[in-house]
Amino acid sequence: MKKTFLLLIVPVFILFSCEKSLFEKEPANNPVKNFDQLWSTLDKKYAFFTYKSIDWDSIRQVYRPQVSQGMSRTQLFDVFDDMLGTLKDGHVNLVATFDVTRYWEYYLNYPTNFDYDLIQRHYLGDEYEITGPFENTWLHNTGYIYYGSFGKSFSDSHVNYLLNKYQDATGLIIDVRNNGGGYTKLIKDLASHFTSEEYMYAKDYFQNGPAHDAFTEPDKKYIEPADGAKWHKPVVLLTNRQCYSATNTFVLAMKQLDHVTVLGDKTGGGGGIPISAELPNGWTYRFSASKKLSPVGFNIENGIPPDKYLDMDEDDLLNEKDTIIEYALDMLNQKK
């Protein structure tokens, strides 16, 4: 009986008692190992080293000596912040319990070109409607729609309502200034109401190997016409440097339509799709893991230029006028 028991039990217990040794050892939690983990993950998976001409090896040579075993976590965080800043990418963040690194120079170094308070007081007024995430009103004989975040979802019925409401207007102003992005699915949901034919609007390339230029074949993205209301009259799409990520892609999709004019400043960019990862000390970080090109091969990571550049005029601001909205109104009423 005893022999049977041993014969049955012992081999199995030997196997699972060494389970921990079968697993790859977890990296140690010290500043050097955390640095190595962060640097090497980005080295294998970050999508814009080649496009941005970044020599990641030389970046390592600069920052690796700044990391030592005795440094505090805030000192380590600062080194990581500086290193990640060299990527100049708004989709790159490191999240610790006490702070978050970010790169916001893509709009902080440029004119604001947007004043929501001015829009609310002098354009939306009291009578505007809030249709889902869309704040909208008549501006004379033109429909004005402000969409502040692709993080705020909507349904077809919201868009159908808006397009039917303004069907007699001379045109539509869609204002996505300061829209920092959100759900990529909503790009198609909105743009699909402005075309009657399917069209390709972007090509995604995903990093698929450790080499900096190792990408998949293009994953072509299409806009298919929506089932509901459609808009074929002129549209002026208002942009500024804070149009980022999903908004940047929405501008790319809309800009390819003949009846759409993009007006304002270049978008902020953010063409890569960010993914998350984790360091041995528990900090998480995200970074761009793909690149997005227009159908003709234009990389939108650093923004999309408008059809017509226009900055807010200081005098207009003093007179409580939004230069860009005023110009759009003139365009739609054939004055420009």
């Binding site: 009986m1 022999k3 049977t4 028991f5 014969l7 049955l8 039990i9 081999p11 199995v12 196997l15 699972f16 389970e19 079968l22 697993f23 790859e24 977890e26 990296p27 939690n29 983990q37 998976k45 999508a47 319990t97 990529t184 699915k185 995604d204 995903f206 990093q207 698929n208 190997g209 998949t216 994953d219 799709i273 960010p274 993914i275 998350s276 990862a277 984790e278 360091l279 041995p280 000390n281 528990g282 900090w283 998480t284 995200r286 893991a289 793909s290």
Partner: protein
């Protein structure tokens, strides 16, 4: 409800089994599983956690002692890295698996000792999904595996306190594995940006066959069976699984499962 439960348990003890030359059993069991998972696509850290599961199956033994059995289980729980209490790095973890095993008797004695040895094949199929609550676009990870390998079983019946018991120990190694594991950045971003269109394309693009160079899997089972007088049985099972994928990105997984099941003889 409570009465119905008691009656169901009593029925199990009083339903007489049919006398057949081939024995058929249906099993059903609640199961506890402790999962360890170290997936390079998710973290350099090992995530661990408890799961609740249901396990059911069918077992057939003929006169010659040939065993055919199939088991299915579905488990749901969460796993986390317990290294840093400051961070709730938790992932929802769920898996479903179906295992088919065919065993042929080889000998009734081993080194002169009366123990049944059976050998055969083990076909293990698993779908494993993780959703990391701290991540965004790549939060969802999905792996589909179908592996086939060799299996061996040692079995011994014995009497204790005038009751009939049986004990078995199973060991199997995978030789070939078919895997769909969307990997690198494509996996999760693709799922995120194309939830409505090409999840299956992403899976199909990631499929490959792995041999023991890229995939090592060991499954063990320890079973203690208590035979009831009506032919039915109760079974206490401990199962351990270890698997290591090296293809594209490394993943280690291990699970410890304990179940207490009923074996209804048909």
């Amino acid at each position: 409800m409570k009465k119905a439960g008691i009656i169901a348990i009593l029925c199990f003890f009083i339903v007489p089994a049919h006398t057949q030359s081939i024995d058929h059993y249906l099993t059903f069991a609640p199961q506890w599983v402790y999962v360890s998972n170290k997936d390079d696509l998710m973290s350099p850290m090992t995530y661990r956690g408890h799961h609740g599961a249901l396990r059911t199956g069918y077992k057939r033994i003929n006169k010659q002692g040939v065993v055919n059995e199939v088991y299915g289980a579905f488990a749901l729980g969460s796993i986390k890295s317990d290294r840093y209490p400051d961070f709730d790095s938790r992932a929802i973890s769920t898996f479903g698996e179906i295992t088919y095993r065919h065993l042929q008797p080889v000998t009734d004695t081993l080194s002169g000792y009366p123990v049944n040895l059976k050998i055969g094949a083990n076909w293990h199929n698993q779908v494993y999904a993780k959703d990391n609550l701290r991540f965004t676009n790549n939060a969802f990870l999905l792996d589909i595996n179908s592996s086939i390998g060799l299996a061996a079983r040692l079995a011994k019946d014995f009497t204790l306190f005038e009751r009939k018991f049986g004990a078995t120990a199973d060991l199997s190694f995978a030789l070939l594995n078919f895997i769909e594991r969307p990997s690198y950045t494509r996996s999760t971003t693709e799922l995120e940006i194309s939830m409505n269109e090409n999840l299956f394309v992403a899976l199909a693009n990631s499929e490959s066959f792995e041999t023991v160079d890229d995939y090592q899997q060991i499954m063990t089972d320890l079973n203690l069976v208590y035979y009831l007088k009506n032919g039915n049985a109760l079974r206490l099972r401990y199962g351990w699984l270890f698997a290591h994928h090296r293809n594209v990105s490394e993943m280690y997984e291990a699970s410890h499962a304990v179940s207490f099941s009923t074996l209804f003889k048909l």
